[in-house]
């Protein structure tokens, strides 16, 4: 599984570009942090890598294909306000969406969803509406949904923000295991890595000089990692 990008510039349609062109690739297990000030384009970069937004210029490829061509084992944990707040979908049905269009047979699917709910301490809330959960429970439900179908790459948008220290540790431990035992690429946008520097394989830093509007993205490996950037 590889994510490759060349001379990539991200930004929303009809808005200015957010970064100077940058190139790189991610292909092996590890936790990669995207760090930078508010509004600099971190979530936009994440969505562009996922194929949810088109690049302003440059190329993105997952396993040599366009990322949006679905069927790719990518997973996404958006910010929880992105979930329609009027929809009273149950937590169990919500997590079940992680199987995508072609879930396994119903009893197997249910069994796996239930064990995911137990793992993330949500089994008591299985039939509750997703929107009655607390912020932290929502994040846990979204993580459970994202990793249900054993993805090869996981992209998370500020998952730590709503979690208390205990749940943050649980999430980072799980992601660490996924990254190193299952060789999964975990890409995370967040502001709260202070306590979790030891988990990170590398960082992408959005940097902006005072007189500039546009950011440069700098790749900063922690040590000897499998992720290269040029």
């Amino acid at each position: 599984m590889s994510l490759v990008w060349e001379n990539l510039v991200v930004g929303h349609a009809n808005r200015p570009a957010l970064n100077r062109p940058f190139s790189g690739r991610l292909d092996d297990g590890g936790i990669y942090a995207i760090i930078g000030p508010n509004g600099c384009g971190k979530s936009t970069l994440l969505k562009t890598w996922l194929g949810l937004l088109s690049a302003k210029s440059g190329l993105v490829a997952v396993n040599g294909n366009e990322p949006a061509s679905s069927q790719l084992p990518l997973a996404y944990v958006p910010q929880s306000q992105q979930v329609n707040k009027f929809f009273q979908i149950s937590v169990q049905d919500f997590v079940m969406q992680g199987f995508g269009r072609n879930p396994p047979p119903r009893d197997i699917a249910l069994q796996r969803v239930r064990s995911a709910l137990v793992q993330w301490e949500l089994s008591a809330d299985a039939q509750k509406s997703f929107h009655l959960l607390s912020g932290g429970q929502k994040t846990r439900a979204m993580v459970a949904r994202a990793i249900l179908a054993n993805p090869k790459m996981i992209f998370l948008d500020e998952p730590l923000a709503n979690l208390d220290t205990c749940c943050q540790e649980q999430l980072m431990d799980t992601l660490h295991i996924l990254a190193h035992r299952n060789n999964i690429c975990v890409v995370m946008v967040d502001h709260h890595f202070e306590a979790y520097e030891k988990f990170l394989s590398a960082r992408f830093l959005f940097e902006r000089s005072h007189n500039e509007e546009i950011c440069s993205i700098r790749y900063e490996p922690k040590d000897d990692t499998c992720c290269k950037s040029h």
């Binding site: 996404y76 009273q88 979908i89 919500f94 969406q97 992680g98 269009r101 997703f130």
Partner: protein, 289 residues
């Protein structure tokens, strides 16, 4: 008097022996079912204004239809359908373009366009002497003057719309809860985003002929507002919508009130009742704690 007439079954029996009453009953149930199927999506996607918007967008098309039929001696239903479809589609396209080009919220773009189109229709009516268009009928429909053909068209549209929602239910649900995640997981988001406006337009246009624009708007909004749905296809919302239409129709017959308005009123009273019950319950909880 209401009690007497409701109890008098023989009166109802003889009443529904009349063709117009049977067609009215069947059409009202079909419209209720159609709106009940679409209500969860309309409410969850915050598109309750779509029914109202389309109703007004098709108005100048209807005026043009009346005029064309009279001027060129064409069948009225055909010119009305074409006129309504043309201004409905042009208007919907314009709403979407205004939203993007002027960077407006969707409801503002819709209101600007619908009022503009409706005003054009009103001006046209005032200039075209000799064409009589009943605005009230347009807003509230005329369920007592429907034909078998109207009921058949409603039945076909209901069958098509329901099968789209039921067959693709998982895709609708994923799209409703989080479109980006749904797209990424391979749910048929692109198909649904294309289908949704078509399905709603078809439903509103067929319902408009039968029961009027105001009732369509109300029936699209009421069921899912009263019974928050757990899925795009919600059986409670569907059953409620059918029941509401029936109660409204029977009450209208019993009281000799206009049918469309009676159904709208019954729905509105129920929404108010739910709001009152909830606020009383909240207050009681606050007092007891």
């Amino acid at each position: 008097m209401l009690q007497e007439s409701l109890i008098d079954f023989s009166m109802w029996q003889s009443f529904f022996e009349a063709d117009f009453a049977r067609i009215a009953l069947i059409s009202t149930v079909l419209v209720g079912a159609l709106c009940g199927v679409l209500s969860p999506t309309i409410v969850l996607k915050q598109r309750s204004y779509v029914g109202d918007t389309l109703t007004h967008l098709v108005f100048p098309g209807l005026v043009a239809g009346y005029f064309t039929a009279a001027a060129f001696d064409l069948p009225l239903w055909g010119t009305l359908m074409v006129g309504a479809a043309v201004t409905g589609l042009v208007g919907s396209f314009l709403v979407e373009r205004l939203e993007r080009i002027l960077n407006l919220p969707p409801d503002s773009a819709a209101v600007l366009t619908l009022t503009g189109f409706f005003a054009a229709g009103v001006v046209a009516v005032s200039r075209l002497r000799g064409t009589r268009i009943d605005l009230e009928r347009f807003l509230f429909g005329d369920v007592l003057n429907l034909t078998n053909l109207d009921a058949v068209v409603l039945g076909v549209v209901l069958a098509v719309v329901t099968s789209f929602v039921v067959v693709l239910r998982k895709d609708w649900d994923a799209w409703l809860s989080d479109p980006e995640f749904a797209r990424l997981m391979g749910f048929r988001v692109a198909l649904i985003e294309r289908l949704f406006p078509v399905v709603v337009t078809a439903a509103v246009l067929t319902g408009l002929v039968a029961v009027g624009g105001l009732m369509i708007s109300a029936l699209l909004a009421v069921p899912a507002s009263l019974l928050p749905p757990k899925s795009a296809f919600s059986i409670p919302a569907l059953l409620f919508s059918i029941t509401l239409s029936l109660i409204g129709l029977l009450a209208a017959f019993a009281l000799d009130w206009p049918v469309g308005s009676t159904i709208v009123l019954v729905g509105f009273v129920l929404v108010l009742a739910k709001a009152i019950v909830i606020s009383i319950a909240k207050r009681t909880c606050a007092v007891s704690t």
